[in-house]
Amino acid sequence: MSKVKTKKHSVWIDMTAMSDVTVLLLTFFMLTSTFIPKEPVQVITPQSVSEIKIPEANILTVLVTPKGQIFLNLDRPSDKREVLELIGKDYGITFTNNQIASFINQTTIGVPVASLPKFLDLSMDEQDDVLKTGGIPIDSTNNQFKRWVEHARDVNENLTIAVKADQETPYPLVRQVMSTLQDIKENRFNLVTNLKGMPEGF
């Protein structure tokens, strides 16, 4: 057999251009992105034609799950520290520095105040597990939700309250939240929704 030497053509694709494109995309995503805040229970918001955007900062998100659990999310860490101190004063609890740091790291507020110190001593992963079954009490006898909102408003005057409820949440639960907000004279608040196009002809 005679050997036929074939010339090896190495195919060289220049990846520089490709790299340029990807870096560009990457920068775009990094700059435009806002991270999804961690939520203990996933909530599907109802759709609406309203086109008002949620403000960038100073928001207090009230998460209402279909089962009626209530979670709060304050966006500014400095506010969170002050709110925790005020709540501690109300219920006669002093928090250690570690607990305060843990409170600021944890995005969601969602356990009754009495069990808060114990909760804050847990590790982050354990906290997330506990939150799934947690929730802030909103009964008329023990309305801690009201306290939290009041203090959050005391600390930050420009606070916008956004109610993010699941679309399947029964109305009585939503009414409880709304009437509590009315009680503390927060008559103007936002309902978080998903955008849906305006129907044809309107």
């Binding site: 220049d14 520089t16 991270f35 309203s50 679309q167 399947e168 109305y171």
Partner: protein, 219 residues
């Protein structure tokens, strides 16, 4: 592009020795793609929308229930949100003896929207024209907002009382508030169910059985 030529002495005859230094960018591209995917999954591109809701203060002790609900009957529409995405409505004052005064409908475009648009046709027309102008860029956004507000506040607009029952969901509430925006209804309020409303709904579900009972008791 990603190569640097070294050497290459053009001045001499004969072949210049060319050494090419090429950098392989493939791993770099791989890594970037990975990061992009990560960012795409972890971010929300669009910010969620909100719907502004203004509720009345609770400090209206000197007002009686009746005064609160006092609206001109000719303009009032009462919408009751029932279980299983059902909607009931009546115009003005309900006739408790006639169970058909309460109508049942749903959230489809042919349902409650049609009813509201028919009642509020003038304002809907005005808003349509205004929106057309906005899309044709004849007026600025601010002017649009201002005029829209005027139309909504006009005196011949309808007044809608929204009464969600305990069986309704949050989606029902947002849907009906949405219909208010779509049908350009300026004045609406979320009101609690009264005993009379509960009676109406039950009476309709039993197709008038309750009225018959009441009549039987009277006789």
């Amino acid at each position: 592009m990603a190569s640097i030529e070294t050497g290459g002495d053009g001045g001499k005859k004969g072949k210049p020795k060319q050494q090419q230094l090429r950098v392989d960018f493939t791993p770099m591209v791989d890594m970037n793609m990975l990061l992009i995917t990560f960012f795409m999954f972890c971010t929300t591109m669009s910010k969620p929308q909100t719907m502004e809701l203004v509720l009345p203060t609770k400090d209206t002790k000197d007002m009686t229930e009746e005064e609160k609900n006092k609206v001109k009957d000719s303009k009032a529409i009462t919408v009751i949100l029932g279980e299983n995405d059902k909607v009931y409505y009546y115009f003005g004052k309900p006739d408790y003896d006639d169970y058909t005064s309460l109508k049942e409908t749903d959230f489809s475009p042919e349902g409650i929207r049609k009813v509201l648009v028919e009642r509020n046709i003038e304002n809907v027309r005005k808003m349509q024209e205004l929106r057309k102008k906005k899309y044709a860029k004849q007026i600025s956004n601010e002017d649009f907002d201002k005029e829209a507000k005027e139309i909504r506040a006009s005196k011949d607009g309808q007044v809608v009382l929204i009464k969600p029952t305990d069986g309704s969901t949050f989606r029902n509430l947002v849907d009906i508030l949405d219909e208010m925006a779509i049908c350009s209804i300026g004045v609406y309020a979320i009101v609690e169910m009264t005993d009379g409303d509960n009676f109406l709904v039950e009476n309709l579900q039993k197709s008038g059985a309750l009225t018959q009972q009441a009549a039987a008791v009277k006789h």
